[in-house]
Protein backbone atom coordinates (compact mmCIF):
# COMPACT_ATOMS: atom_id res chain seq x y z
CA UNK A 1 0.00 0.00 0.00
CA UNK A 2 1.42 3.32 -1.06
CA UNK A 3 1.19 5.77 1.77
CA UNK A 4 1.97 9.44 1.56
CA UNK A 5 4.60 8.98 4.22
CA UNK A 6 6.52 6.35 2.27
CA UNK A 7 6.36 8.53 -0.79
CA UNK A 8 7.77 11.52 1.08
CA UNK A 9 10.51 9.44 2.68
CA UNK A 10 11.55 8.13 -0.72
CA UNK A 11 11.51 11.64 -2.18
CA UNK A 12 13.81 12.83 0.61
CA UNK A 13 16.03 9.80 0.08
CA UNK A 14 16.31 10.50 -3.63
CA UNK A 15 16.95 14.15 -2.92
CA UNK A 16 19.86 13.75 -0.53
CA UNK A 17 21.50 11.05 -2.64
CA UNK A 18 20.99 13.35 -5.60
CA UNK A 19 22.82 16.16 -3.81
CA UNK A 20 25.75 13.90 -2.94
CA UNK A 21 25.95 12.47 -6.45
CA UNK A 22 25.97 15.99 -7.86
CA UNK A 23 29.12 16.59 -5.82
CA UNK A 24 30.70 13.43 -7.18
CA UNK A 25 29.62 14.01 -10.78
CA UNK A 26 30.54 17.69 -11.15
CA UNK A 27 34.30 17.32 -11.35
CA UNK A 28 33.99 14.40 -13.70
CA UNK A 29 31.65 16.29 -15.99
CA UNK A 30 33.85 19.36 -16.31
CA UNK A 31 37.08 17.39 -16.77
CA UNK A 32 35.39 15.25 -19.43
CA UNK A 33 34.32 18.35 -21.28
CA UNK A 34 37.62 20.17 -20.83
CA UNK A 35 40.24 17.50 -21.51
CA UNK A 36 38.25 14.56 -22.82
CA UNK A 37 39.43 12.57 -19.82
CA UNK A 38 36.82 10.01 -18.80
CA UNK A 39 37.92 9.34 -15.27
CA UNK A 40 37.16 5.72 -14.45
CA UNK A 41 39.03 6.22 -11.17
CA UNK A 42 36.52 8.82 -10.01
CA UNK A 43 34.47 6.25 -8.14
CA UNK A 44 37.64 5.13 -6.38
CA UNK A 45 38.29 8.70 -5.23
CA UNK A 46 34.80 8.85 -3.75
CA UNK A 47 35.48 5.54 -2.03
CA UNK A 48 38.85 6.80 -0.77
CA UNK A 49 37.03 9.74 0.79
CA UNK A 50 34.73 7.43 2.69
CA UNK A 51 37.60 5.22 3.92
CA UNK A 52 39.84 8.09 4.98
CA UNK A 53 36.86 9.60 6.76
CA UNK A 54 36.15 6.32 8.51
CA UNK A 55 39.76 6.02 9.66
CA UNK A 56 40.01 9.57 10.96
CA UNK A 57 36.64 9.64 12.64
CA UNK A 58 36.29 6.14 14.03
CA UNK A 59 39.89 5.23 14.75
CA UNK A 60 41.75 8.48 15.45
CA UNK A 61 39.50 11.26 16.64
CA UNK A 62 35.81 11.78 16.95
CA UNK A 63 36.00 15.11 15.23
CA UNK A 64 33.78 15.22 12.15
CA UNK A 65 34.80 18.68 11.00
CA UNK A 66 38.47 17.79 11.12
CA UNK A 67 37.68 14.51 9.38
CA UNK A 68 35.79 16.25 6.61
CA UNK A 69 38.56 18.75 5.96
CA UNK A 70 41.28 16.10 5.98
CA UNK A 71 39.29 13.98 3.54
CA UNK A 72 39.01 16.88 1.15
CA UNK A 73 42.77 17.39 1.27
CA UNK A 74 43.59 13.69 1.02
CA UNK A 75 41.43 13.23 -2.07
CA UNK A 76 42.77 16.40 -3.63
CA UNK A 77 46.26 14.94 -3.12
CA UNK A 78 45.26 11.65 -4.71
CA UNK A 79 43.74 13.52 -7.62
CA UNK A 80 46.92 15.56 -8.01
CA UNK A 81 49.05 12.41 -8.11
CA UNK A 82 46.78 10.74 -10.67
CA UNK A 83 46.79 13.82 -12.85
CA UNK A 84 50.56 14.34 -12.77
CA UNK A 85 51.41 10.66 -13.18
CA UNK A 86 48.87 9.61 -15.80
CA UNK A 87 46.84 12.38 -17.38
CA UNK A 88 49.49 15.00 -17.97
CA UNK A 89 52.06 12.74 -19.68
CA UNK A 90 49.36 11.27 -21.92
CA UNK A 91 48.01 14.71 -22.71
CA UNK A 92 51.42 16.01 -23.67
CA UNK A 93 51.80 13.11 -26.07
CA UNK A 94 48.49 14.08 -27.65
CA UNK A 95 46.89 10.69 -27.11
CA UNK A 96 43.18 10.14 -27.84
CA UNK A 97 40.54 10.19 -25.05
CA UNK A 98 40.20 6.41 -25.04
CA UNK A 99 43.82 6.04 -23.90
CA UNK A 100 43.15 8.13 -20.79
CA UNK A 101 40.13 6.05 -20.05
CA UNK A 102 42.03 2.81 -20.43
CA UNK A 103 44.92 3.95 -18.23
CA UNK A 104 42.50 5.22 -15.60
CA UNK A 105 40.79 1.84 -15.45
CA UNK A 106 44.21 0.57 -14.37
CA UNK A 107 44.43 3.30 -11.71
CA UNK A 108 41.00 2.26 -10.49
CA UNK A 109 42.20 -1.33 -10.16
CA UNK A 110 45.21 -0.29 -8.10
CA UNK A 111 43.22 2.01 -5.82
CA UNK A 112 40.55 -0.58 -5.23
CA UNK A 113 43.10 -3.28 -4.46
CA UNK A 114 45.06 -1.01 -2.10
CA UNK A 115 41.88 -0.11 -0.26
CA UNK A 116 41.07 -3.81 0.05
CA UNK A 117 44.50 -4.63 1.42
CA UNK A 118 44.64 -1.67 3.82
CA UNK A 119 41.11 -1.78 5.21
CA UNK A 120 39.99 -5.32 4.39
CA UNK A 121 37.03 -6.47 2.35
CA UNK A 122 34.35 -6.45 5.06
CA UNK A 123 32.08 -3.39 5.26
CA UNK A 124 32.86 -0.59 7.72
CA UNK A 125 30.32 1.50 9.53
CA UNK A 126 30.72 5.20 10.10
CA UNK A 127 28.37 6.42 12.85
CA UNK A 128 26.10 9.41 12.31
CA UNK A 129 27.39 12.45 14.25
CA UNK A 130 25.68 12.75 17.65
CA UNK A 131 24.01 16.09 17.02
CA UNK A 132 22.49 14.93 13.74
CA UNK A 133 21.20 11.55 14.85
CA UNK A 134 17.51 11.07 15.36
CA UNK A 135 14.62 12.59 13.53
CA UNK A 136 12.81 15.86 13.17
CA UNK A 137 9.03 15.78 13.35
CA UNK A 138 7.04 17.74 10.80
CA UNK A 139 3.51 17.18 12.01
CA UNK A 140 3.08 13.41 11.83
CA UNK A 141 6.03 13.05 9.48
CA UNK A 142 9.41 12.04 10.89
CA UNK A 143 12.42 13.01 8.80
CA UNK A 144 15.92 11.79 9.64
CA UNK A 145 18.07 14.73 10.69
CA UNK A 146 21.26 13.50 9.08
CA UNK A 147 19.75 13.33 5.61
CA UNK A 148 18.62 16.94 5.90
CA UNK A 149 22.07 17.85 7.18
CA UNK A 150 23.63 16.23 4.09
CA UNK A 151 21.39 18.33 1.88
CA UNK A 152 22.46 21.46 3.78
CA UNK A 153 26.21 20.71 3.66
CA UNK A 154 26.11 19.74 -0.01
CA UNK A 155 24.18 22.90 -0.84
CA UNK A 156 26.90 24.97 0.78
CA UNK A 157 29.60 23.13 -1.18
CA UNK A 158 27.58 23.47 -4.39
CA UNK A 159 27.15 27.20 -3.84
CA UNK A 160 30.89 27.55 -3.37
CA UNK A 161 31.47 25.64 -6.60
CA UNK A 162 28.86 27.75 -8.35
CA UNK A 163 30.58 30.89 -7.14
CA UNK A 164 33.93 29.57 -8.31
CA UNK A 165 32.73 28.76 -11.82
CA UNK A 166 30.57 31.79 -12.44
CA UNK A 167 32.25 34.58 -10.51
CA UNK A 168 35.99 33.94 -10.57
CA UNK A 169 38.19 34.44 -13.57
CA UNK A 170 39.60 30.90 -13.55
CA UNK A 171 36.15 29.39 -13.29
CA UNK A 172 34.70 31.37 -16.16
CA UNK A 173 37.75 30.50 -18.21
CA UNK A 174 37.27 26.81 -17.59
CA UNK A 175 33.59 26.82 -18.54
CA UNK A 176 34.44 28.72 -21.70
CA UNK A 177 37.11 26.15 -22.48
CA UNK A 178 34.56 23.37 -22.16
CA UNK A 179 32.40 25.11 -24.75
CA UNK A 180 35.26 25.36 -27.19
CA UNK A 181 38.66 24.04 -26.04
CA UNK A 182 40.38 24.90 -29.29
CA UNK A 183 39.49 28.56 -29.38
CA UNK A 184 40.19 28.87 -25.69
CA UNK A 185 43.69 27.47 -26.08
CA UNK A 186 44.27 29.80 -29.03
CA UNK A 187 43.39 32.66 -26.72
CA UNK A 188 46.17 31.63 -24.40
CA UNK A 189 44.34 29.42 -21.93
CA UNK A 190 46.59 26.66 -20.70
CA UNK A 191 44.17 23.74 -20.89
CA UNK A 192 46.40 21.29 -19.07
CA UNK A 193 46.96 23.59 -16.10
CA UNK A 194 43.27 24.41 -15.96
CA UNK A 195 42.50 20.71 -16.24
CA UNK A 196 44.82 20.01 -13.31
CA UNK A 197 42.96 22.49 -11.14
CA UNK A 198 39.53 21.15 -12.06
CA UNK A 199 40.68 17.55 -11.70
CA UNK A 200 41.97 18.20 -8.20
CA UNK A 201 38.84 20.11 -7.19
CA UNK A 202 36.72 17.31 -8.67
CA UNK A 203 38.63 14.70 -6.69
CA UNK A 204 38.30 16.69 -3.46
CA UNK A 205 34.58 17.19 -3.90
CA UNK A 206 34.07 13.52 -4.80
CA UNK A 207 35.85 12.58 -1.59
CA UNK A 208 33.59 14.96 0.33
CA UNK A 209 30.63 13.15 -1.21
CA UNK A 210 32.10 9.86 -0.03
CA UNK A 211 32.43 10.91 3.59
CA UNK A 212 28.99 12.53 3.63
CA UNK A 213 27.29 9.38 2.42
CA UNK A 214 29.46 7.08 4.56
CA UNK A 215 27.20 7.05 7.64
CA UNK A 216 24.19 6.09 5.54
CA UNK A 217 25.52 3.35 3.31
CA UNK A 218 28.17 1.08 4.71
CA UNK A 219 31.71 1.75 3.52
CA UNK A 220 32.74 -1.17 1.27
CA UNK A 221 35.44 -1.76 -1.34
CA UNK A 222 32.79 -1.99 -4.06
CA UNK A 223 31.10 1.34 -3.38
CA UNK A 224 33.26 3.08 -5.98
CA UNK A 225 32.31 0.73 -8.77
CA UNK A 226 28.67 0.83 -7.75
CA UNK A 227 28.49 4.59 -7.93
CA UNK A 228 30.53 4.97 -11.11
CA UNK A 229 27.78 3.81 -13.47
CA UNK A 230 25.24 6.22 -12.06
CA UNK A 231 27.73 9.05 -12.20
CA UNK A 232 28.26 8.46 -15.92
CA UNK A 233 24.51 8.45 -16.48
CA UNK A 234 24.28 11.76 -14.62
CA UNK A 235 27.16 13.31 -16.55
CA UNK A 236 25.79 12.32 -19.95
CA UNK A 237 22.26 13.24 -19.00
CA UNK A 238 23.27 16.60 -17.60
CA UNK A 239 25.53 17.53 -20.47
CA UNK A 240 29.31 17.83 -20.23
CA UNK A 241 30.50 20.79 -18.22
CA UNK A 242 27.04 22.04 -17.29
CA UNK A 243 26.66 22.75 -13.59
CA UNK A 244 22.88 23.18 -13.56
CA UNK A 245 22.42 20.26 -15.94
CA UNK A 246 24.45 17.95 -13.73
CA UNK A 247 22.51 19.03 -10.66
CA UNK A 248 19.11 18.52 -12.28
CA UNK A 249 20.13 15.23 -13.86
CA UNK A 250 21.45 13.97 -10.56
CA UNK A 251 18.25 14.82 -8.69
CA UNK A 252 16.10 13.39 -11.48
CA UNK A 253 18.03 10.12 -11.73
CA UNK A 254 18.18 9.58 -7.99
CA UNK A 255 14.46 10.30 -7.72
CA UNK A 256 13.72 7.80 -10.49
CA UNK A 257 15.75 5.20 -8.63
CA UNK A 258 14.29 6.05 -5.28
CA UNK A 259 10.65 6.28 -6.35
CA UNK A 260 11.06 3.35 -8.74
CA UNK A 261 12.12 1.15 -5.86
CA UNK A 262 8.70 1.64 -4.23
CA UNK A 263 7.10 -0.34 -7.02
CA UNK A 264 9.97 -2.46 -8.30
CA UNK A 265 12.86 -4.38 -6.77
CA UNK A 266 15.80 -2.02 -6.34
CA UNK A 267 17.90 -3.60 -9.09
CA UNK A 268 15.11 -3.23 -11.62
CA UNK A 269 14.65 0.42 -10.66
CA UNK A 270 18.33 0.89 -11.38
CA UNK A 271 17.94 -0.89 -14.71
CA UNK A 272 15.43 1.81 -15.67
CA UNK A 273 18.14 4.42 -15.20
CA UNK A 274 20.53 2.65 -17.57
CA UNK A 275 17.76 2.13 -20.12
CA UNK A 276 17.29 5.88 -19.96
CA UNK A 277 21.00 6.39 -20.72
CA UNK A 278 20.76 4.04 -23.71
CA UNK A 279 17.72 5.90 -24.96
CA UNK A 280 19.52 9.25 -24.70
CA UNK A 281 22.62 8.03 -26.47
CA UNK A 282 20.61 6.47 -29.29
CA UNK A 283 18.46 9.50 -29.90
CA UNK A 284 21.26 11.98 -29.22
CA UNK A 285 24.50 10.10 -29.99
CA UNK A 286 26.62 12.92 -28.55
CA UNK A 287 24.79 13.33 -25.28
CA UNK A 288 22.13 15.86 -24.39
CA UNK A 289 24.19 18.93 -25.29
CA UNK A 290 25.40 17.34 -28.48
CA UNK A 291 28.88 18.71 -29.15
CA UNK A 292 31.05 16.57 -31.35
CA UNK A 293 33.64 17.59 -28.81
CA UNK A 294 36.81 15.77 -27.97
CA UNK A 295 35.17 12.56 -26.95
CA UNK A 296 34.79 10.99 -30.39
Amino acid sequence: MLSLELLLIQIINGLFIGFVFTLVALGLSIVMGLLGVVNFAHGALYMLGAYVGYTLICLLSQNYVLGFISVVFACAGAGLIIFLAIVKPLKSKGRPPLDFLIALIGVNMIMEESIKSIWGAEPKYLPIPQIFSGQIAFGSLLLPKYQLCIIAISSVVLLLIYYFFYKTDVGIRSLASVEDPETASLQGVNLTRLGLLIFVIGAAVAGAGGILIGPIFSVTPTMGIEVLGLIFVIVIFGGLGSLEGTFLASILICEIRSLGSIFLPETLAEMLVYCLLLLILITRPRGIKGYAGILE
Partner: protein, 315 residues
Protein backbone atom coordinates in the same frame (compact mmCIF):
# COMPACT_ATOMS: atom_id res chain seq x y z
CA UNK B 1 55.06 -17.28 -44.34
CA UNK B 2 58.81 -17.74 -44.20
CA UNK B 3 60.58 -20.92 -43.15
CA UNK B 4 61.53 -19.78 -39.67
CA UNK B 5 57.96 -18.70 -39.04
CA UNK B 6 56.68 -22.15 -40.00
CA UNK B 7 59.18 -23.86 -37.73
CA UNK B 8 58.38 -21.65 -34.73
CA UNK B 9 54.66 -22.11 -35.30
CA UNK B 10 54.85 -25.91 -35.59
CA UNK B 11 57.09 -26.15 -32.49
CA UNK B 12 54.57 -24.02 -30.60
CA UNK B 13 51.69 -26.21 -31.77
CA UNK B 14 53.57 -29.36 -30.72
CA UNK B 15 54.11 -27.76 -27.31
CA UNK B 16 50.42 -26.92 -26.98
CA UNK B 17 49.30 -30.41 -28.01
CA UNK B 18 51.62 -32.20 -25.61
CA UNK B 19 51.02 -30.05 -22.52
CA UNK B 20 48.71 -32.53 -20.75
CA UNK B 21 51.38 -35.23 -21.15
CA UNK B 22 54.02 -33.44 -19.07
CA UNK B 23 52.25 -30.57 -17.30
CA UNK B 24 50.68 -30.76 -13.87
CA UNK B 25 46.91 -30.56 -13.66
CA UNK B 26 47.11 -26.98 -12.48
CA UNK B 27 49.38 -26.03 -15.36
CA UNK B 28 46.97 -27.61 -17.85
CA UNK B 29 44.10 -25.77 -16.18
CA UNK B 30 45.98 -22.48 -16.52
CA UNK B 31 46.61 -23.05 -20.20
CA UNK B 32 42.97 -24.02 -20.72
CA UNK B 33 41.90 -20.76 -19.09
CA UNK B 34 44.38 -18.78 -21.15
CA UNK B 35 43.16 -20.36 -24.39
CA UNK B 36 39.51 -19.62 -23.56
CA UNK B 37 40.41 -16.01 -22.77
CA UNK B 38 42.39 -16.06 -26.00
CA UNK B 39 39.27 -16.94 -28.01
CA UNK B 40 37.34 -14.21 -26.26
CA UNK B 41 39.98 -11.53 -26.70
CA UNK B 42 40.47 -12.43 -30.37
CA UNK B 43 36.72 -11.98 -30.82
CA UNK B 44 37.07 -8.66 -29.02
CA UNK B 45 39.97 -7.70 -31.24
CA UNK B 46 37.61 -7.82 -34.20
CA UNK B 47 35.70 -4.93 -32.60
CA UNK B 48 38.37 -3.01 -30.71
CA UNK B 49 41.47 -3.61 -32.77
CA UNK B 50 39.99 -3.76 -36.25
CA UNK B 51 36.79 -1.70 -36.18
CA UNK B 52 38.03 0.73 -33.55
CA UNK B 53 35.07 0.61 -31.18
CA UNK B 54 36.12 0.24 -27.56
CA UNK B 55 33.36 -1.74 -25.90
CA UNK B 56 32.88 -2.78 -22.30
CA UNK B 57 29.86 -4.84 -23.31
CA UNK B 58 31.65 -7.99 -24.35
CA UNK B 59 31.22 -9.30 -20.84
CA UNK B 60 27.54 -9.66 -21.77
CA UNK B 61 28.21 -11.62 -24.96
CA UNK B 62 30.64 -13.85 -23.07
CA UNK B 63 28.69 -14.10 -19.83
CA UNK B 64 25.33 -14.74 -21.42
CA UNK B 65 26.95 -17.49 -23.50
CA UNK B 66 27.96 -19.12 -20.23
CA UNK B 67 24.58 -18.40 -18.69
CA UNK B 68 22.76 -19.95 -21.64
CA UNK B 69 24.38 -23.28 -20.68
CA UNK B 70 23.23 -22.85 -17.11
CA UNK B 71 19.73 -21.79 -18.09
CA UNK B 72 19.20 -24.61 -20.55
CA UNK B 73 20.88 -27.40 -18.63
CA UNK B 74 19.99 -26.59 -15.03
CA UNK B 75 17.25 -23.97 -14.67
CA UNK B 76 14.79 -25.02 -17.40
CA UNK B 77 14.51 -27.85 -19.96
CA UNK B 78 17.47 -29.87 -18.51
CA UNK B 79 19.22 -30.15 -21.87
CA UNK B 80 22.46 -32.10 -21.59
CA UNK B 81 23.31 -32.53 -25.25
CA UNK B 82 26.49 -30.42 -25.63
CA UNK B 83 25.83 -29.74 -29.29
CA UNK B 84 22.46 -28.14 -28.54
CA UNK B 85 24.04 -26.15 -25.71
CA UNK B 86 26.78 -24.80 -27.95
CA UNK B 87 24.46 -24.02 -30.85
CA UNK B 88 21.98 -22.18 -28.66
CA UNK B 89 24.80 -20.22 -27.07
CA UNK B 90 26.03 -19.27 -30.54
CA UNK B 91 22.54 -18.13 -31.51
CA UNK B 92 22.23 -16.09 -28.33
CA UNK B 93 25.71 -14.61 -28.75
CA UNK B 94 24.98 -13.61 -32.34
CA UNK B 95 21.66 -12.06 -31.33
CA UNK B 96 23.12 -10.11 -28.39
CA UNK B 97 26.07 -9.08 -30.55
CA UNK B 98 23.68 -7.75 -33.15
CA UNK B 99 21.79 -5.75 -30.53
CA UNK B 100 24.98 -4.37 -28.97
CA UNK B 101 26.28 -3.52 -32.44
CA UNK B 102 23.04 -1.80 -33.28
CA UNK B 103 23.14 0.26 -30.09
CA UNK B 104 26.84 1.13 -30.45
CA UNK B 105 26.59 2.02 -34.13
CA UNK B 106 24.80 5.30 -33.44
CA UNK B 107 27.66 6.96 -31.63
CA UNK B 108 31.44 6.98 -31.69
CA UNK B 109 34.41 7.03 -29.36
CA UNK B 110 33.68 7.50 -25.70
CA UNK B 111 29.94 7.72 -26.35
CA UNK B 112 29.93 4.27 -27.95
CA UNK B 113 31.87 3.00 -24.95
CA UNK B 114 29.27 4.45 -22.61
CA UNK B 115 26.51 2.75 -24.62
CA UNK B 116 28.23 -0.59 -24.18
CA UNK B 117 28.76 0.24 -20.51
CA UNK B 118 25.03 0.81 -20.03
CA UNK B 119 24.31 -2.40 -21.94
CA UNK B 120 26.57 -4.37 -19.60
CA UNK B 121 25.01 -2.75 -16.52
CA UNK B 122 21.49 -3.58 -17.72
CA UNK B 123 22.33 -7.23 -18.25
CA UNK B 124 24.23 -7.49 -14.98
CA UNK B 125 21.27 -6.03 -13.09
CA UNK B 126 18.95 -8.35 -15.01
CA UNK B 127 21.01 -11.39 -14.01
CA UNK B 128 21.19 -10.19 -10.39
CA UNK B 129 17.49 -9.33 -10.08
CA UNK B 130 16.39 -12.42 -11.98
CA UNK B 131 12.80 -11.35 -12.71
CA UNK B 132 12.16 -14.41 -14.92
CA UNK B 133 13.63 -16.92 -12.44
CA UNK B 134 16.16 -18.28 -14.89
CA UNK B 135 19.52 -17.01 -13.63
CA UNK B 136 19.29 -17.78 -9.94
CA UNK B 137 20.27 -14.25 -8.95
CA UNK B 138 23.33 -13.51 -6.91
CA UNK B 139 24.20 -17.12 -6.12
CA UNK B 140 24.64 -18.12 -9.75
CA UNK B 141 24.24 -21.59 -11.22
CA UNK B 142 26.33 -24.70 -10.58
CA UNK B 143 26.55 -28.13 -12.17
CA UNK B 144 26.84 -27.02 -15.78
CA UNK B 145 29.12 -29.72 -17.09
CA UNK B 146 27.40 -32.12 -19.48
CA UNK B 147 27.88 -35.86 -18.86
CA UNK B 148 30.60 -37.65 -20.89
CA UNK B 149 29.70 -38.52 -24.46
CA UNK B 150 28.81 -42.14 -25.06
CA UNK B 151 29.94 -43.26 -28.47
CA UNK B 152 28.78 -46.85 -28.97
CA UNK B 153 30.18 -48.39 -25.82
CA UNK B 154 33.22 -46.24 -25.20
CA UNK B 155 32.94 -42.93 -23.39
CA UNK B 156 34.64 -39.73 -24.39
CA UNK B 157 34.79 -37.03 -21.74
CA UNK B 158 35.44 -33.76 -23.49
CA UNK B 159 34.16 -31.60 -20.67
CA UNK B 160 36.72 -31.92 -17.89
CA UNK B 161 40.49 -32.13 -17.43
CA UNK B 162 42.56 -33.17 -20.42
CA UNK B 163 39.56 -33.87 -22.64
CA UNK B 164 38.34 -30.31 -22.16
CA UNK B 165 41.86 -29.05 -22.78
CA UNK B 166 41.92 -30.63 -26.22
CA UNK B 167 38.40 -29.43 -26.99
CA UNK B 168 39.41 -25.88 -26.05
CA UNK B 169 42.66 -26.10 -28.02
CA UNK B 170 40.85 -27.24 -31.16
CA UNK B 171 38.13 -24.61 -30.81
CA UNK B 172 40.88 -22.03 -30.25
CA UNK B 173 42.72 -23.02 -33.43
CA UNK B 174 39.51 -23.05 -35.47
CA UNK B 175 38.50 -19.65 -34.08
CA UNK B 176 41.91 -18.20 -34.82
CA UNK B 177 41.73 -19.44 -38.41
CA UNK B 178 38.19 -18.16 -38.92
CA UNK B 179 38.86 -14.74 -37.37
CA UNK B 180 42.06 -14.46 -39.40
CA UNK B 181 40.03 -15.24 -42.52
CA UNK B 182 37.50 -12.57 -41.57
CA UNK B 183 40.18 -9.94 -41.04
CA UNK B 184 41.93 -10.79 -44.29
CA UNK B 185 38.73 -10.67 -46.32
CA UNK B 186 37.33 -7.59 -48.01
CA UNK B 187 34.97 -7.27 -45.06
CA UNK B 188 37.98 -7.11 -42.76
CA UNK B 189 39.51 -4.32 -44.78
CA UNK B 190 36.28 -2.35 -44.58
CA UNK B 191 36.38 -2.77 -40.80
CA UNK B 192 39.92 -1.39 -40.74
CA UNK B 193 38.70 1.46 -42.91
CA UNK B 194 36.03 2.24 -40.32
CA UNK B 195 38.74 2.47 -37.69
CA UNK B 196 40.97 4.71 -39.80
CA UNK B 197 38.39 7.07 -41.21
CA UNK B 198 34.73 6.29 -40.92
CA UNK B 199 33.54 9.47 -42.64
CA UNK B 200 35.53 8.70 -45.76
CA UNK B 201 34.04 5.22 -45.99
CA UNK B 202 30.58 6.67 -45.62
CA UNK B 203 31.26 9.14 -48.39
CA UNK B 204 32.42 6.25 -50.57
CA UNK B 205 28.96 4.78 -50.16
CA UNK B 206 29.55 2.11 -47.52
CA UNK B 207 26.83 1.79 -44.93
CA UNK B 208 29.29 1.59 -42.05
CA UNK B 209 26.56 0.97 -39.49
CA UNK B 210 25.65 -2.33 -41.11
CA UNK B 211 29.28 -3.38 -41.19
CA UNK B 212 29.68 -2.56 -37.53
CA UNK B 213 26.59 -4.56 -36.68
CA UNK B 214 27.84 -7.55 -38.64
CA UNK B 215 31.24 -7.31 -36.93
CA UNK B 216 29.55 -7.30 -33.53
CA UNK B 217 27.43 -10.30 -34.52
CA UNK B 218 30.49 -12.31 -35.55
CA UNK B 219 32.33 -11.23 -32.43
CA UNK B 220 29.30 -12.23 -30.36
CA UNK B 221 29.41 -15.76 -31.77
CA UNK B 222 33.02 -16.34 -30.75
CA UNK B 223 32.53 -14.65 -27.39
CA UNK B 224 29.57 -16.89 -26.63
CA UNK B 225 31.61 -19.96 -27.52
CA UNK B 226 34.26 -18.82 -25.05
CA UNK B 227 31.47 -18.42 -22.51
CA UNK B 228 30.27 -21.99 -23.03
CA UNK B 229 33.81 -23.33 -22.62
CA UNK B 230 34.20 -21.33 -19.40
CA UNK B 231 30.94 -22.80 -18.12
CA UNK B 232 32.26 -26.32 -18.81
CA UNK B 233 35.64 -25.55 -17.24
CA UNK B 234 34.41 -23.91 -14.06
CA UNK B 235 31.20 -25.95 -13.75
CA UNK B 236 29.67 -22.86 -12.11
CA UNK B 237 28.85 -19.28 -13.04
CA UNK B 238 28.05 -16.20 -11.02
CA UNK B 239 26.73 -12.79 -12.11
CA UNK B 240 30.21 -11.22 -11.94
CA UNK B 241 30.92 -12.69 -15.36
CA UNK B 242 28.42 -10.28 -16.95
CA UNK B 243 29.64 -7.17 -15.10
CA UNK B 244 31.51 -4.52 -17.08
CA UNK B 245 34.58 -5.25 -14.93
CA UNK B 246 34.93 -8.47 -16.92
CA UNK B 247 34.63 -6.34 -20.04
CA UNK B 248 37.42 -4.13 -18.70
CA UNK B 249 39.59 -7.22 -18.17
CA UNK B 250 39.06 -8.19 -21.80
CA UNK B 251 40.06 -4.68 -22.80
CA UNK B 252 43.13 -4.95 -20.59
CA UNK B 253 44.34 -8.15 -22.27
CA UNK B 254 43.73 -6.60 -25.66
CA UNK B 255 45.74 -3.48 -24.82
CA UNK B 256 48.57 -5.39 -23.13
CA UNK B 257 49.10 -7.62 -26.14
CA UNK B 258 48.53 -5.06 -28.86
CA UNK B 259 45.38 -4.21 -30.74
CA UNK B 260 44.45 -5.31 -34.20
CA UNK B 261 46.94 -8.15 -34.49
CA UNK B 262 45.08 -11.26 -33.19
CA UNK B 263 48.43 -12.58 -31.93
CA UNK B 264 48.78 -9.70 -29.49
CA UNK B 265 45.47 -10.41 -27.74
CA UNK B 266 46.46 -14.05 -27.31
CA UNK B 267 49.78 -12.97 -25.77
CA UNK B 268 47.81 -10.64 -23.51
CA UNK B 269 45.45 -13.37 -22.37
CA UNK B 270 48.32 -15.78 -21.61
CA UNK B 271 50.22 -13.10 -19.72
CA UNK B 272 47.23 -12.08 -17.64
CA UNK B 273 46.24 -15.66 -16.86
CA UNK B 274 49.74 -16.60 -15.78
CA UNK B 275 50.13 -13.48 -13.66
CA UNK B 276 46.79 -14.23 -12.05
CA UNK B 277 47.53 -17.84 -11.17
CA UNK B 278 51.28 -17.89 -10.64
CA UNK B 279 52.38 -14.59 -9.13
CA UNK B 280 50.87 -14.78 -5.66
CA UNK B 281 48.29 -12.56 -4.06
CA UNK B 282 49.68 -9.25 -5.28
CA UNK B 283 48.89 -10.03 -8.89
CA UNK B 284 46.46 -7.15 -9.29
CA UNK B 285 49.23 -4.65 -8.50
CA UNK B 286 51.64 -6.21 -10.98
CA UNK B 287 48.99 -6.45 -13.63
CA UNK B 288 47.60 -2.95 -13.22
CA UNK B 289 51.06 -1.36 -13.15
CA UNK B 290 52.14 -3.27 -16.22
CA UNK B 291 48.93 -2.25 -17.89
CA UNK B 292 49.34 1.45 -17.13
CA UNK B 293 52.97 1.34 -18.32
CA UNK B 294 51.92 -0.31 -21.57
CA UNK B 295 49.18 2.25 -22.20
CA UNK B 296 51.57 5.10 -21.50
CA UNK B 297 54.73 3.98 -23.20
CA UNK B 298 53.89 1.15 -25.62
CA UNK B 299 50.71 2.10 -27.46
CA UNK B 300 51.18 -0.83 -29.83
CA UNK B 301 51.30 -3.36 -27.01
CA UNK B 302 53.82 -6.09 -26.23
CA UNK B 303 53.41 -7.80 -29.59
CA UNK B 304 54.09 -4.48 -31.31
CA UNK B 305 57.35 -4.17 -29.35
CA UNK B 306 58.31 -7.74 -30.21
CA UNK B 307 57.63 -7.11 -33.88
CA UNK B 308 59.79 -3.98 -33.81
CA UNK B 309 62.62 -5.91 -32.12
CA UNK B 310 62.40 -8.72 -34.66
CA UNK B 311 62.44 -6.24 -37.52
CA UNK B 312 65.57 -4.60 -36.07
CA UNK B 313 67.28 -7.96 -35.65
CA UNK B 314 66.60 -8.85 -39.28
CA UNK B 315 68.34 -5.67 -40.43
Amino acid sequence: MSGTHAIILSLFLCFLFTIPLFGTRFFTYTITCALIWGILVMAYDLICGYTGIVSLGHSVLYGMGAYSVGILSVMILKVTNPLILILSAIALGAFLGLILGFLCSFSRGVYALLVSFAFAQIFWLFVMADPLHITNGESGITGLRPPPLNLGGFTLDLFRGNGLYYLVLIVFLISYTLIRMITNSQFGFILKGIKENEDRLRSLGYDTRQYKMLAFTLSGIFSAIAGVLTAFLENAISPGIVHWITGAQILLMEILGGQGTLIGPVIGSFLVTFLKFWSGENWVYYLASLYILVVMFLPRGLWGVLQDLLAKLRK
